[in-house]
């Protein structure tokens, strides 16, 4: 089989065999806003063969500062369907399915089922907890990402190793982003790391953030890893 030239620059970071594995992968991105737009862009250009883009929201003017899928002409239009249209122009070989829907306890299994990987690009904490519960139930790895102001975080949540309840606790729905907003530069950084982790899990590579959370402070250029599982094991 002739390997598509469009993926030649992915090599030798990724072998031809690994690129073919990615072409067969099914990845669902929950949220098509700041993080999700960048994530879908990366996945499509990388050659992930099957992408599901889920979001019930439409673009508004406040999205233009950071959401790569947003344009002035798309104000009022669906974010997930914008992802489908953009990917058609970037990589027509990728199958991108847009779902205009909010993930709830009732529909989460149906939406996430059948995927190899779930990527969290949501904008609220309660939906993230639903996502984690459902991924645990279905045995699907979850790549978590969240942003606020200069700050961001990424974690890889494997089956049997839930993490988000420890981080967020109960009853919270918003974090620092309520006060700090979300500037243009933070989503791109965090989304890139989420996609790198996604690729590492799909290809069974080393160095994955399992049971850990990477914290990013772009103002002070501090990158730190908090090993939540190790912290808690240490006191047993």
């Amino acid at each position: 089989m002739k390997f598509p030239r469009r993926y030649s620059r992915n090599q030798n970071t990724l072998s031809q065999e690994e690129c073919l594995t990615l072409q067969k992968a099914r990845v669902v991105v929950i949220g098509c806003g700041g993080l999700g737009g960048h994530i879908i862009e990366h996945l499509g250009r990388l050659g992930i063969g099957n992408i599901t883009a889920v979001d019930d929201d439409v673009f508004d003017e406040t999205n233009l500062n950071r959401q790569i899928l947003s344009t002035e002409s798309l104000i009022g239009k669906s974010k997930s369907l914008a992802a489908v249209e953009r990917m058609k122009r970037i990589n027509s070989e990728a199958k991108v399915n847009g779902i205009v829907c909010r993930v709830t306890k009732e529909n989460a299994k149906e939406i996430l089922g059948g995927h190899h990987m779930v990527i969290d690009a949501l904008d609220n904490i309660q939906s993230r907890l639903i996502l984690e519960d459902t991924c645990q139930e279905l045995g699907i790895p979850l790549i978590h990402g969240a942003i606020g102001g200069w700050y961001g975080q990424v974690a890889v949540i494997m089956p049997g190793r839930p993490l988000l309840k420890k981080i967020y606790g109960e009853g919270q729905d918003k974090g620092l982003e309520e006060d700090l907003g979300n500037p243009s530069f933070t989503p791109g950084v965090i989304a890139g790391i989420q996609v790198a982790e996604c690729v590492k899990v799909l290809l069974n590579k080393d160095g994955i953030l399992k049971g850990q959370i990477l914290t990013v402070d772009l103002q002070n250029l501090e990158f730190d890893i908090i090993d939540v599982e190790k912290l808690e094991e240490g006191r047993k």
């Binding site: 919270q172 729905d173 730190d224 006191r235």
Partner: protein, 64 residues
């Protein structure tokens, strides 16, 4: 006395509450571990760090 906050050692005044550290970082909400034990939200306002405490502070972020 000395405490470690997110891997960095620093001086800390005896009997100074942990909330000073949170105010210093301008964080409203955080997940906090002290020597591997995660503090409950209700413990955070009254916790007084002790010499040698290893503290991890994680900002609560929910944006996407």
């Amino acid at each position: 006395m000395k405490i470690t906050v997110n891997k960095k050692e620093r001086e800390w005044e005896e009997d100074a509450p942990l909330t000073l550290l949170i105010e210093e970082r301008k964080i409203k909400r955080a997940a906090i571990w002290v020597n591997g034990r995660q503090l409950l939200n209700k413990e955070i306002p009254t916790y007084i760090p002790e010499d040698g405490d290893d503290i991890k502070i994680l900002r609560i972020l929910g944006g996407g």
